[in-house]
């Protein structure tokens, strides 16, 4: 298609597209206008019936707990897919990894200040992640966010240029186990609902008093399960990607 034909096409389609866009934008509700009856319902029932104060977590782990189960397994399956694909590309290379020396690292050139920085970041990030996961039902946060924050802690070892140290601290088998454990825990908590309350994922724990750490029924448990799974999933994905880099450096690929 020549440039002129394309311009002609634009001249015909552009105004039409613009007109539809303008008509659509004119029909939008005003800024801040809220029509969601569902949101109002959640606002009313979750704090009073479930004693949860963070309604987003309440939505994820109570009203739509089954959706979260699906989402969790989407993450699990995609991480497993990444691992399968990337491991297929590398040969049996584990022996080499084991024989690496202390000083061998993939992202060399990290300055001392960067190393100190990463050392400070690790405990900060991990404790923030644990805080977020435990207070999921109380304050903004919850399993997913907390999981990524927790995973970012060990990742800052990489910032210090010590990727292989990261691999020693968090070997792949452990990450796989953590990932699967989190996914299984969520499904098993649901099974607990089936056993103790008669319905899959139905709450079977006391709700406690609103605002306390142990409240909102099984939301904290769900949050912990998702947090563990997301931590494992993200670390495993990063490890697989960075392994590729390591192999490429050795001229294996």
């Amino acid at each position: 298609m020549s440039r002129r034909v394309r311009l002609l096409l634009l001249a015909c389609a552009g105004p039409g597209f613009l007109a539809v866009l303008v008509i659509g934008l004119r029909g939008l509700p005003d800024f801040g206008d809220f029509h969601g009856a569902y949101g109002l319902l959640v606002d009313r029932i979750e704090p009073s019936l479930r004693h949860a104060t963070d309604l987003v977590t309440a939505l994820n782990f109570d009203l739509r707990a089954f959706d979260t189960l699906g989402e969790e397994f989407i993450l699990f399956a995609s991480v497993a897919g990444v691992a399968l694909l990337l491991r297929h590309l590398r040969d049996v290379d584990e022996e080499l990894d084991r024989r690496r020396t202390r000083e061998d690292h993939s992202f060399a050139g990290a300055s001392d200040s960067l190393r100190v920085m990463s050392l400070i970041l690790i405990p900060l990030l991990v404790s923030l992640g644990v805080y977020l996961v435990l207070h999921g039902a109380l304050t903004p946060g919850g399993g997913f966010q907390a999981g990524v924050v927790c995973a970012a802690g060990p990742l800052s070892v990489l910032l210090a240029g010590r990727y292989l140290a990261l691999k020693r601290a968090a070997p792949e088998w452990a990450l796989e186990a953590v990932d699967s454990l989190g996914a299984a825990a969520y499904a098993l908590i649901g099974l607990g609902g089936l056993i103790f309350a008669g319905i899959y994922l139905k709450n079977f724990l006391p709700y406690g008093s609103s605002g306390h750490l142990l409240s909102a029924g099984m939301m904290p448990l769900n949050s912990i399960a998702v947090g563990i799974e997301v931590t494992g999933a993200f670390l495993l994905t990063w490890t697989e990607f960075l392994d590729q880099d390591l192999l490429a450096q050795r001229g294996r690929l």
Binding site: L132, F144, Q145, A152, L158, T237, F241, L242, A248, L253
Partner: protein, 89 residues
Amino acid sequence: MTGLQAAALLVVVVTGTAVALLSDPLRQTLVLAIFGFALTLLFFVFQAPDVALSELVVSGVGLPVIILAALRKVAQQSARRERQEEPEE
């Protein structure tokens, strides 16, 4: 709409456009992280702190690591291909 919300929207427009207009993938990745921070600010001033937290960690940490690793590998592969195509001396 408060001034803060308008400002956050403006920052998102500017950084988002910058990501789209940059041609170098490496720079694009870094600006993408800044765009992520702008989005975090946006979600926060629009009273969605849960989404803001997710956006912060995913765009600030999660995505750049994967993109950077992929970019590095692409660069290494194309370097090797060039070496192979060079005639033996």
